[in-house]
């Protein structure tokens, strides 16, 4: 089979067919700052730096996507929130913008056009798109309306809201859906290929399935059809095997899955209704040797890549700042070595004891 470009490779895999090799999405957002010799805060302050950083990482690691994600808290900046920048980790959300449930009664959905931080992200996407055209997928991120309140009001208060104040929960969801739809579509209009819909609260790590069906799934069903492009629902390390079919029913194309679950079982449960993205352990990756990287890559490919429908990636949607270049390059090398279709070697592969 002649070599495909990253877009062809990814689309073929998402079409449940085998491309030339397993697509590899190395979701390195913070590493762009290292590449440019900037602090994380400096790096994210200018759109052209992020575009440049991501393009340099694309060349270095030969990943199959560009990642337009800045940091999750940038969305709450649009709602009036603040961001705390760390020297060595993901920027965090500052104080909650909803300090009492009653605030929800008067809350208004912010305009994407008026939010300067979001406009910066859109400009980065435009610059990346101008450079790669349709050869490399540009993955943008929108936090799910159902998961956004963790940053808007704090996780503990949000759990209490879900269980104890359903009218205000519904009002907040209505506001958040409008925001997420506008934000996702603005990124698609700027040139993003697909939206990674981060929805970790829906994970069965965080809420039981019965509650997901009443809440997170309902919200996704009201949101995803209004997003004018493909979506990948990401559980950000959380479990999802018991709800994989329920997630597929929301119309999403891809599900980001956790290393806490067996990839072969997930692949069987996906049953070609959705593709899988995952599930390398980003936390352990920090101290992997080249052999560790090869073992993990080989296992993931053996468990999930046959027949397509699989993109090799980390299991959180962001590779930690502490993961060194040589590990990322070892992952790339292992994907090159073991990811070429047809995967005849998989028939003889045995899972580690």
């Amino acid at each position: 089979m002649s070599a495909m470009n990253s877009m062809q490779r990814t689309l073929t895999a998402l079409g449940q067919q085998e491309p030339d090799c397993v697509p590899l999405f190395l979701l390195t957002s913070l590493h762009g700052a290292k590449e440019l010799g900037l602090s994380i805060e400096q790096y994210f302050s200018r759109a052209e730096q992020v575009a440049d950083g991501q393009l340099r990482l694309l060349e270095k690691y030969r990943s199959d996507c560009l990642y337009a994600f800045y940091y999750a808290a940038i969305e709450t900046e649009a709602w009036g929130g603040t961001t705390l920048f760390l020297p060595d980790g993901p920027p965090l959300c500052g104080a909650p913008v909803i300090t009492r449930p009653e605030h929800i009664d008067t809350l208004r959905t912010p305009s994407v056009a008026d939010a300067e931080p979001l406009q910066r992200v859109l400009e980065s996407i435009r610059q990346m798109k101008a450079r790669v055209g349709d050869t490399v997928p540009i993955i943008a991120v929108a936090v799910a309306p159902f998961s956004l309140p963790v940053m808007q009001m704090g996780f503990d208060k949000y759990i209490e809201l879900i269980y104890q104040d359903r009218p205000r929960f519904e009002r907040l969801m209505a506001l958040n859906i409008e925001f997420t739809v506008a934000w996702a579509n603005a990124q698609l209009d700027a040139g993003a290929t697909a939206i990674c819909y981060f929805d970790p609260v829906s994970s069965t790590t965080n809420i039981p399935r019965e509650l997901y069906l009443q809440t997170g799934q309902e919200v996704a069903k009201r949101t995803l059809p209004r997003i004018k492009g493909p979506t990948a629902t990401h559980m950000a390390s959380g479990r999802c095997l018991p709800i994989l079919a329920d997630i597929a029913a929301t119309g999403t194309a891809v599900v980001g899955v956790s290393v806490l679950e067996d990839l072969a079982e997930l692949k069987a449960a996906a049953n070609k209704r959705v593709s899988l993205l995952g599930n390398l352990n980003g936390v352990e990756m920090r101290r992997w040797t080249a052999d560790d990287a090869e073992r993990a890559v080989k296992q993931a490919i053996a468990q999930a890549a046959a027949g397509g429908g699989f993109i090799l990636s980390d299991n959180h949607g962001e590779i930690p700042w502490q993961v060194p270049d040589d590990v990322l390059l070892a992952i790339r090398a292992a994907a090159d070595k073991w990811g070429r279709y047809p995967l005849d070697w998989v028939r003889d592969w045995k899972p580690p004891a």
Binding site: L84, L92, T204, T205, P320, Q322
Partner: protein, 214 residues
């Protein structure tokens, strides 16, 4: 020594998992007719919370259920064993903190479950390493529980452990949070004495240390 679970622990646990407050209250009231308040806590509440925590670790119960169960149990235990009650476990002198991180849910759950299990402990909220070292030594803490969510915070535990252990080698440090779940070697790398996969683990480990310190 760990107390055997009373038969009411099972229906109490089921009511907790279903977030059925009315049934949980009724089962606990039934327990109080048969047991002293301390026995009801040790033989009904603690085993139920342990089972909920283990079920979360196995993927059979969600964090929202663990959180709401912990808050509810904290409330009913406060009612029958107020913080000043002599049956409360004030020893070993313990504290819990979120280190260099702004994700507070994990600490809130462990704090609730510890208190619902009869322990009294200082809640330090969120601190950086310098402030934590100063406070732990000033308060003469013997057991410190550190919670984190993100990897950079987990790596800062190393400095906290080094400085605290240098000043007080007898101090016991228990760590928990996502980085320790995803990397089972990390707790040893940062120099902690143990890690817990759930709030119930924290109770069991502190109880074990309490026995060793007596």
């Amino acid at each position: 020594m760990k107390k055997a679970a009373h038969p009411l622990a099972t229906p109490f646990r089921h009511a907790l998992e279903a977030l059925d407050r009315v049934t949980a209250e009724a089962v606990f009231a039934n327990a109080l007719e048969q047991l002293s308040p301390l026995q009801a806590v040790e033989q009904v509440v603690v085993p139920a919370l342990e089972a909920v925590g283990a079920a979360w670790h196995d993927g059979n119960v969600a964090l929202s259920q663990v959180y709401m169960s912990g808050r509810f149990c904290e409330e009913i235990v406060d009612r029958v064993l107020p913080p000043s009650d002599p049956d409360r476990k004030h020893q070993p002198r313990s504290a819990i903190v979120v280190l260099s991180d702004y994700h507070l849910l994990g600490k809130r759950i462990v704090y609730s479950v510890m208190r619902a299990s009869g322990f009294e402990l200082f809640d330090y909220g969120r601190m950086d390493v310098d402030e934590l070292v100063e406070r732990v030594l000033a308060d003469r803490i013997r057991v410190l529980l550190i919670s984190v969510l993100i990897l950079p915070s987990a790596l800062k535990v190393k400095e906290a452990c080094r400085r605290l252990k240098t000043a007080d080698p007898a101090l016991k440090i228990l760590v928990g949070g996502a980085p320790f779940l995803f990397d089972p070697q990390l707790w040893q790398e940062v120099g902690a004495d143990a890690t817990g996969a759930s709030a119930a683990d924290a109770v069991a480990i502190v109880e074990r240390w309490m026995g060793e310190m007596q």
